[in-house]
């Protein structure tokens, strides 16, 4: 694609990682910064609650990516219900759309934030579709 610099990688990200609460000492876990640096686009998931229609809309978008050569991952939060990913509702929606469940990485607030950031960065850097799939779709 001429002049197009899309990264071909998308991450499902919970509300609490997009808009993180300040940690002790006023520091924040900068998941968006890590995703940006790794060239991922973001699909923001809503906070806990009943978001039936919104999750169906999000599942439609995930399916479109998964079926057309994009790598899709999920980044959850360890101490949130469903890891902030709405997995119980999202998983069947994805299955019905013929999408394998995305690989998950879990961030834990109770860990050292520096270490958590390094682990997330390593996960993001290390994941993509097999080369054959990349060549098929990405030209």
């Amino acid at each position: 694609m001429t002049g197009d610099v899309r990264g071909w990688r998308v991450a499902l990200v919970p509300e609490s990682l997009i808009n993180p609460p300040p940690a002790a000492g006023g520091r924040r876990f900068d998941a968006l910064g890590l995703l940006e640096a790794s060239g991922y686009g973001v699909l923001q998931l809503p906070p806990a609650g009943d978001h039936r229609l919104l999750l169906a809309v999000i599942a439609d978008q995930i399916a479109e990516y998964a079926h057309h050569g994009y790598a899709v991952v999920a980044v959850g939060v360890g101490d949130e219900p469903g890891q902030g990913l709405h997995w119980r509702r999202l998983a069947p929606l994805l299955r019905r759309r013929g999408v394998a469940l995305p690989l998950r990485h879990i961030v834990r607030w109770d860990g050292d934030l520096e270490v958590q950031a390094q682990r997330l960065a390593a996960f993001l850097a290390g994941y993509d579709l097999p080369l054959e799939e990349q060549r098929r779709w990405r030209g």
Partner: protein, 205 residues
Amino acid sequence: MEPNTSRKVALIAHCLLNQNAKVCEGARYPGVVSPVVEALRSRGYEILQLPCPELAFAGTRRWWAVYEQYDTPGYRTHCRRLAQAIAPRIEQHLRAGAEVVLIGLDGSPSTGVRFTSSKRDWGGRPNRPQDDWDLVEGRGVWIEELEAELARRGLPAVPATGWALDMGRYDETGSSRDLAEFLDRRERAMRIPGDGSSTPQGGAR
């Protein structure tokens, strides 16, 4: 709805967090449009990403189009479904008195705020840069439907502007300046209730 100035929320066009949603040949960043995120975060805004109407309708391999091509009953029905999906989250913030702003994508047939692309008789094979549509003042189809849904819920108009990604030659510095000026006007309006600058900064449509 009295403003609760401790909370500020920016509704942002989907592709400002995810350039993979752009039309073929339209992605200017790998993923996140970082100048937008930085401008919002530095002013204390939370981010609420809107769904991408074009991606879910025409797919990842679509070409660019003008307002008139998307101004169809089927696409508007699709946009209304998306608006109904995201409106409860917006309503929750507005009813709680948060300062809510909308950052769309100027020049987009769907997500344009100040400008959208238009040509009544344009169509057929896309041929950039020879394509000769016009950029006109007004909302894109998705923003029209989203605003209509918020109005149906009895909610006030959300002050809005656009990041000028689809206006032809892309000017990141100019777009950053525009956004900063818009957000700073909002800051002043919040400090001075009733200040005229609190009126929506949208297009004419």
